[in-house]
Assembly symmetry: D2
Homo-oligomer: 343 residues x 4
């Protein structure tokens, strides 16, 4: 397929959540892709503008009942799945059999070891998919993504954490264990299902930790860090909710290997990301959530403080942490310039 | 009863919502009242600190299943009812029969005309209560409150609206119809039941009107304004939600009767509230929600602008609009200084 | 000039405020325009990324000292002026003499009558510019904008107000005087200069009116409503600040002419905006600030309530209320499709 | 002095900042203390209600020009100083000479070693005061506070950090070095001086680290932890700003000494604070800023996670982190029940 000839035809499975909403917006302005169908569960059908009044006059798309045959017959090149884990792996085999390439946003294909997946989630029902899946973090898996039939779009916390830590591990500047990731997220990261925890008067003016020792992003981070660095990494990942819509900041504390200077740390980041379009190594200001909000950038920094390596990384959890990264992966999969439609 | 001798014994019916929570806090610091029991529905039982971790170490009270006999036998002087309409009027007759005085926070006893109540709500099942009930706005019904066996605690929007408008109507400075009340409230006013409308990412950074022409506080406002001014008042009440926890501001536009000056308007407010402990007529700054937040004050102001009378009134919707006003009413009912425990 | 041949060359005067920042972002993603220079006052010079770290890696542009000759020699087609009033009219004559077309965001060229301008602002020093200037509200002045050498980009409040009111005035459905505009804005509308009023702890959880009877957008609204409807319009405009970054909602109350129905009101809005790309007449939901945030849309609605016409209009104050509207005007001035780069 | 006989007479030096405002509110409702004067610098004089319209009708106090003689002659028992460092130590000697006991909120008397103070601040000019000063953290210095003529009210971050860490250090459960304190604060902690950093549109929807390795609360925390545990403690303290008015959460990561269980950790906290009125050891929920907002409580918790000890502590930065703690200290200094006026 020559991209100049025609647009990538995309179907979206699960358009009524925040992830679906955002990817619809990105696809509407993408010059080389076209959203040709949206499908969802029986209790969430209807025009996209009904779920998101912001989309009125921008799209006539209607979320229709998911049916694997219909999706297969729509003539799409790519399916983006924004559905919960377990649901994803129940859809993927059929869609792949129908010849669609897939970007899956759930956790189902992120953990390469089914045993690890099953410890944190539930029995895995698509071992073939698991074998074929590529982890969709372009900065570390670009070549594999380009060829992949199935891309596992990373979690927001793992993207933010890995982009800061990986270069220092690779450069041998920090120890691979004892790494503490103190992460905060805006509330959109918790999804769109109402719950007392996310009720405005409970969340506003409130800052709160959660998931002590139990957050499922912990094994994902360890797997990828180990894979890209060739060392077994161990992290303590601790998330918190900050009273804001969107944005994420990871404050990371690691032990240096021997004597390490600020310059070495920053140098390793600069070297790792010199040619990356969406990672910015900051030395002028510290990363902050608002400096990356509404963009696909991840900002990172590194400093030595009292014998510890202190890293900060910031991204927009619904963009580089989800929808923007999916578009970036799509661009790679279909041979487009990686930044197409992302500025 | 001599107040110096013993404390008012209060039971709270419905402690798990925001209103209940706030009144618990006020009662805990009140020098002459004591909360002796909390009762609720079967699906919301348990220690108060379980609903509100903020209350830990401050109270051991447990919300127990509501049972009229138990409440009657607890030896209380006063029951505060923070339950939905319809539920209130199903509890009140029994509690009154048991000799308790009552402050009811629902709408069930606010509208004196059962026909009006039934048009906006549902059939009224306690006509005797309706006859005896006193509208709990101290600035206008203080004497009757002092004697009342049943006080209908006003809505937040009516309190805020009436305190600004009533003096000008009484003074004959504005016309009784065509009054526009453009009101905004913090989200706590919508209660504690999770719903997509009040999900943090939907509500944050969002300003939205609701209830066009249908808000049930409209007839309540008209009834009280008519009653205190002796003229049939007609208002257009339009509420909005502002992205904040608490606070309320009414911007009110009325037509003057003949020529009216700023001084006459402000003078009427000052005269009306000169001796009121909780209404402040502002000429130094405009009323704003933060100037009254966490207090039982209502701030009001008046100006002539381009031939219209422009009034502002601000209060904390969960205090002067609910819990603080209930405490103020309790103080009056039991012969205490009206400000006891309210600063 | 054929737009397919080359891009519109734009210079920005005043890039360090929020308006400048937003227009830089729009221009960076615009397919047919290119920002070729940024100029500012001596105390605000430096790389754009220094003012806005979000812009790092997206632009190397540096805000340089404003110098009319340099601007003239840069070979630009269009100058966008985001400078305060008075400063604007001191720059405009020179820039026009150098052959640049201009979109000015200040108030200097919005009021067609110099006497009115001088009553609300200061002496006017560019009568020729005032004569030539076209009010940049595309929905009402599209043809003149296309030919204009100088466009006065409207204020955010006037855009939001006029788009709701004008169709009903034109259709003879509402009276031209006694119109009350109760407006709220996010805090970005107050600009980027720190002040106690906009200090986070003063503004957060606060809702506050300001500028009673004195807001300079009042004469602008009246002028445009009068001009487009052929009747002398009189409005009472009352602004408020809501604790949020961006967004604007006008709640408008007008008197109907004789008997008017909801259908007539909505019908007049639908007819006025059937072919407009950026005005949406809402009947599914009420306009709300979040439904238009980050877009160039203005949402409007109309209802009859208790004998009054109630209108709502919402827009993003920094987009349709400023930068997006400027891009829309630029597209019209240079013969592009009006929506280019704006979705 | 018998407290039942008369009230403690308090003067406040520096009433126009947030700390002053809050302590005025606490003193207004305190049954055994009375604010008899407020003094400030020449550019911030006037009625307290002018600085804080919320205080209207609650106090007639006027902030008058600070003059040591006048303060001395006012017949006060206690001076609370809410002035910047350096200013505090220029006032304290005179006030002490006049016989006033003092609670100082600045950093001037917190660091017992003048050399450490001078490294982080400036030359110390009151060595006598430094010798006499008692660190005002009641949970650890209660007896000394009772006798003190000069109390150094702790910083908000140190209070929050120390209350979580100290019991575990004392119990020998964690190592005294390598402790990471990842702290977040609401924006009121930054004071009331407007600055672009704290301008609403810059701060809202933004989460940001600051002061990497340079925050002056680091030596204060280390000094107190070392003092109360008898071991030289070393901490890495990293603060962040969260978009909210008030509230503070410290997420603390420490290395356990040998094998330590959750029960041992929690047990040490429970034992330390069993009789403390304002520290709550949480096992039902994790500490969160909203569970302590508007109260003088500090909530703490401890868990073992992947070989690290993870502590959380939360308090209201303007209450237990400032004004409430000052009142608690005052109660101790004057022989009152420590909780008087603090619920």
């Amino acid at each position: 397929m020559t991209q100049s000839d025609r647009k990538i035809r995309v179907v979206l499975i699960g358009g009524s959540g925040y992830a679906g909403f955002e990817v619809v917006r990105w696809l509407l302005r993408h010059p080389n892709a076209k959203l040709v169908g949206v499908f969802g569960p029986s209790n969430e059908l209807g025009p996209m503008e009904q779920f998101y009044p912001l989309l009125s006059a921008q799209t006539d798309l209607v979320q229709e009942l998911f049916d694997a045959d219909r999706v297969a017959n729509i003539g799409a090149d790519l399916a983006m799945l924004c559905v919960p884990h377990k649901v994803a792996m129940s859809y993927v085999p059929t869609l792949r059999a129908a010849g669609l390439r897939i970007i899956d946003w759930s956790a189902d294909y992120r953990l390469t070891d089914a045993a690890v997946y099953e410890k944190w989630y539930s029995p895995h029902t698509d071992p073939d998919g698991l074998t074929d899946a590529v982890y969709g973090l372009p900065e570390y898996y670009r070549d594999a993504i380009a060829q992949a039939s199935l891309v596992a779009n990373p979690g927001c916390y793992p993207t933010c954490s890995i982009l800061a830590i990986a270069p220092l591990l690779r450069a041998g500047l920090i120890k691979p264990d004892g790494i503490v990731i103190n992460a905060i997220s805006g509330v959109s990261g918790a999804g769109r299902t109402p719950h007392l925890k996310f009720h405005f008067p409970e969340r506003n003016e409130n800052f709160e930790p959660y998931g002590v020792g139990t957050h499922r992003h912990m094994p994902e981070i360890e797997q990828v860090l180990s894979d890209v660095s060739g060392q077994k990494a161990a992290v303590l990942f601790q998330p918190h909710l900050s009273p804001m819509d969107r944005g994420m900041l990871c404050s990371i504390y690691a032990d240096p290997v021997d004597d390490v200077t600020d310059d070495q740390l920053t140098g390793a980041l600069v070297q790792a990301y010199a040619d990356e379009p969406f990672v910015r190594v900051r030395t002028d200001v510290l990363p902050a959530s608002k400096y990356v909000a509404t963009t696909n950038f991840c900002d990172v920094s590194a400093d030595m403080v009292k014998g510890k390596v202190v890293l900060f990384s910031a991204l927009d959890n619904v963009i580089k942490g989800a929808s923007g990264q999916a578009i970036q992966n799509m661009n790679i999969m279909f041979g487009l310039d990686e930044t197409t439609g992302l500025y």
